[in-house]
Point group: C2
Chain length 510, copies 2
């Protein structure tokens, strides 16, 4: 008889040093506590009574168009944050007075047991999700009324607010009989969103795991990439590694596997541009891929030449971006403004391009003319958590910058300890931006037309890491080869992380 | 410099003998011609004028809840059938008088080129999708009016009808100015659905490829399965194989990777039962997984012991199902009623269970009491095409059978040449059905309680193939190991298909 544990080790040891960690349910218990404390504090400040219920509706399964094809369900992110429930059709309430949490589960028909699986008891859910009480969704009205300790109609704090990335509003919970309650649509959203902005240690451990398995998968892709492959094969290798060895069924976002000039398409990889190009010798690859583990995500970009050796032209652009990436990370700490980090990245890139003779003139003049946004039209980075573009980037009333590049920033806030934010500078050769800029009377003079033409079909480079702001600095949670010599070594078969011996021999005794 | 072609062969030769085929756009041209001919014929029969436009709206990209997380777009199936368009946001029209086809593409903002990729010209789409004309969606009103050759308001045939699997209605196209047209909501749906029921040779070649790559992936899983692995690792191996070597980005449906007693959960694998059990020695695995290639799908189930060797108890159930599978396929031909095939499968299974002493008594009596539905509560099979549960299973006015088992049939039609239908008999030990049946005064007498208790945590066996009805019989498009000796040989490392030498030595000189 085989021993299960050995079989796991055998099946995976040569490919991964990781195994999916246990998920502590306390993570969500703590998230709820944090919200209740924040809410109470807020209510006290405005002398409002400390009662009522936070009341959220979880997500529902969706079918495709008119068919019975069920899309794989993924819980709504605010609901996931507070309750960690993986099943569709739930509601959840938190009693602000007592701090008690109540989940409402859908009452399933008896034949669910035949088609979908065992019908779990309410006490199963109570234990699994560590809440005070579980009832059925058809009991919401009565249960909330029973639990209510205030006078008059019970007050429900519903989730309604703007997502500043999508410009869409979250949908407040709805159920039969809601007209018998008072509702508050304005208080909850900003407070709950702010709770999500600052990550707890338990949240960080999941984001770290998503980073670890995704970093490893990026290395796996680097090792297996060959001229002649299709871009989607790199996606497939990544997805397989993170699911097979990391148990990550979902990705944080659709994989961007751009090679050659596709590297200049910032959100390449969607259905109309589906990672279907054949890799050619001399191409750069720009791979933006991140796995999600128990709702918490990662967002990582690696750029490298598909044949494993940087040309000097490629090295110029790559190092320009790497210096920007490193300059930002060395500067990040609480109190630093994210807009300044964006400008720092831009300036670092422009300085490198100028040094290489691609652009000419005074870098400060270039900054005034927003030349950086021609090469990096996107923002430097965004909050990361249960959503890839985690909410809270703009506090209410705070306006978005208007200038090119800066207006694409998903946050313009000051950094605080516990924020996780992506640092993803890039340098792209995008005809739709470059041609007008080269023809413009304001910016035309900055370009060395002859040299820049060499980069016509170059595509682009992006280097993206997920960075935690710490008490007096920051910590890079992403562990991919970043230096050119590291990438070339790993692509040539060296282990990763490079061990001491490898480092000293490859890096000239460093 | 590396040669791309050799690199592809090198990277994939040891794993797959397949490469993704070119997709002939004529497939969709022919689908449109078929529809126009059918519609004209129908209109002639009812003495209606042969003009007006078939008018469909393609699918749109969806975001997740209030976020900007974009779900990977998959075209709506009727639109995919007629136009093969992979991009979101299109409309399509077919002029019944001339047979001309017009696509309407969304007018994209200039910064689409920066974020999403090159803005394709209208002539690009005209050539790619082989239509007569491509305009923008904001030109629908004028273009249709211009093209119209009849008198009065132009007539639009819109898609509105019931999907008999989901019980939902397709959503008729909507656009600004539609009130200036006559619309017909009843004619198109049944005629277009019936076109989809009978597959063309070009459609069949894609379904065959989806079957080939999925069959190969099932074999890959059989080879790699080990006690101690997680169910989702089998899913990951399957997904990787079909994407890496088959270019299949989508699956036909969420993978069902059920082991042990999960095999008794017919639609296992969804978010609330997410393929997360650890494989144990002695388990049966029931893996229902199928890839999709250019919209056309496959739907394949293999069942086998995870340790590679059938016990005699497992072999009894497996062979009962295999005999049913084979009996149905040997009987299928045009004119045969699908309900009779379901009953044939049931009866074959009951006979085997009786022979093994699991049930006792007269099989005809069992059939009268619908005992078959206790062991196989689902229908024998369904149409397969662009949807896994392809539409057209019930012609208008045709009632669904009411009896247990039969009422789950997704079609009760007579077979016709060109139909593709799954043959998926199964035998499950489902407590929720078995316990009441054993206690019932009508069916209790049929059970050998002592023997059946051995199967308490057995789970189930399903064997599912995709079968094309031919002029005088049928063709099994699925190419998986099915006989016990074939499965054991492949799991022990034999090549698949088994070559002649292997067959004669393993199968006792057959
Ligand atoms: Mn990012
Ligand atoms: Mn099926």
């Amino acid at each position: 008889m085989e021993k299960p544990k050995e079989a796991i080790a055998m099946a995976s040891s040569s490919y991964s040093r990781l195994t999916p960690p246990e998920v502590p349910v306390e993570l969500h218990v703590n998230n709820r506590k944090k919200l209740v404390n924040s809410l109470r504090h807020h209510l006290s400040l405005s002398s409002r009574p400390l009662h009522g219920f936070v009341f959220l509706q979880g997500g529902d399964e969706q079918t495709r168009y008119d068919t019975d094809h069920i899309e794989l369900f993924r819980q709504e992110s605010y609901f996931a944050y507070l309750f960690g429930v993986r099943e569709p059709g739930f509601y959840g309430a938190i009693d602000i007075a007592s701090g008690n949490s109540i989940l409402f589960a859908p009452r399933l028909p008896p034949d669910y047991a035949v088609w979908m699986g065992e019908i779990k008891t309410l006490s199963y859910f109570k234990e699994r999700y560590m809440v005070s009480m579980v009832c059925y969704t058809d009991e919401i009205f009565g249960v909330i009324h029973d639990q209510y300790q205030g006078s008059g109609k019970p007050l429900l704090f519903l989730l309604h607010g703007l997502n500043t990335d999508s410009d869409k509003f979250s949908k407040p919970a709805e159920f039969q009989g809601m007209d018998k309650f008072e509702t508050d649509l304005t208080t909850l959203h900003p407070i709950l969103t702010e709770c999500r902005v600052i990550k707890s240690d338990l949240e960080l451990s999941l984001i770290q795991f998503a980073n670890d398995i995704s970093s490893e998968a990026h290395v796996e892709v680097m090792r297996k990439v060959r001229v002649g492959m299709k871009e989607y094969q790199l996606e497939s290798i990544f997805l397989h590694h993170t699911y097979m060895y990391g148990g990550c069924r979902h990705c944080s976002y659709t994989c961007i596997c751009a090679t050659g000039e596709n590297g200049a398409v910032l959100h390449y990889g969607h259905a109309a541009a589906p990672n279907d190009r054949t890799l050619e010798n001399g191409d750069m690859a720009l791979l933006d891929m991140g796995a999600e583990y128990h709702f918490y995500g990662s967002d990582i970009t690696c750029s490298f030449p598909v044949n494993g050796k940087f040309t000097s032209d490629q090295a110029i652009i790559y190092n320009a971006v790497l210096h920007a990436h490193n300059a930002v990370i060395s500067t990040m700490k609480p109190g630093v403004c994210w807009v300044d980090m964006h400008l720092l990245a831009e300036k670092t890139i422009l300085q490198s391009l100028r040094k290489a003779g691609i652009i000419v003139g005074n870098v400060d003049d270039m900054m005034v003319e927003r030349l950086g946004a021609v090469f990096m039209p996107h923002g430097l980075g965004h909050f990361l958590g249960i959503d890839t573009h985690d909410p809270g980037g703009y506090l209410k009333g705070k306006e978005r910058p208007k200038e090119p590049g800066l207006r694409s920033l998903r946050t313009a806030r000051e950094l605080q300890e516990g924020m996780v934010i992506t640092v993803e500078p890039g340098c792209y050769f995008i005809d739709a931006l470059l041609v007008p800029a080269m023809e413009s009377s304001n910016t035309g003079r900055f370009f060395n037309h002859e040299v820049i033409n060499k980069y016509k079909s170059f595509g682009g480079v992006r280097i993206e890491s997920d960075v935690l702001v710490t008490v007096n600095g920051c910590k890079n949670m992403t562990k991919c080869p970043r230096e050119i010599w590291e990438i070339e070594a790993v692509m040539a078969g060296s282990p990763w992380p490079l061990n001491e011996v490898t480092i000293s021999s490859e890096h000239g005794g460093g």
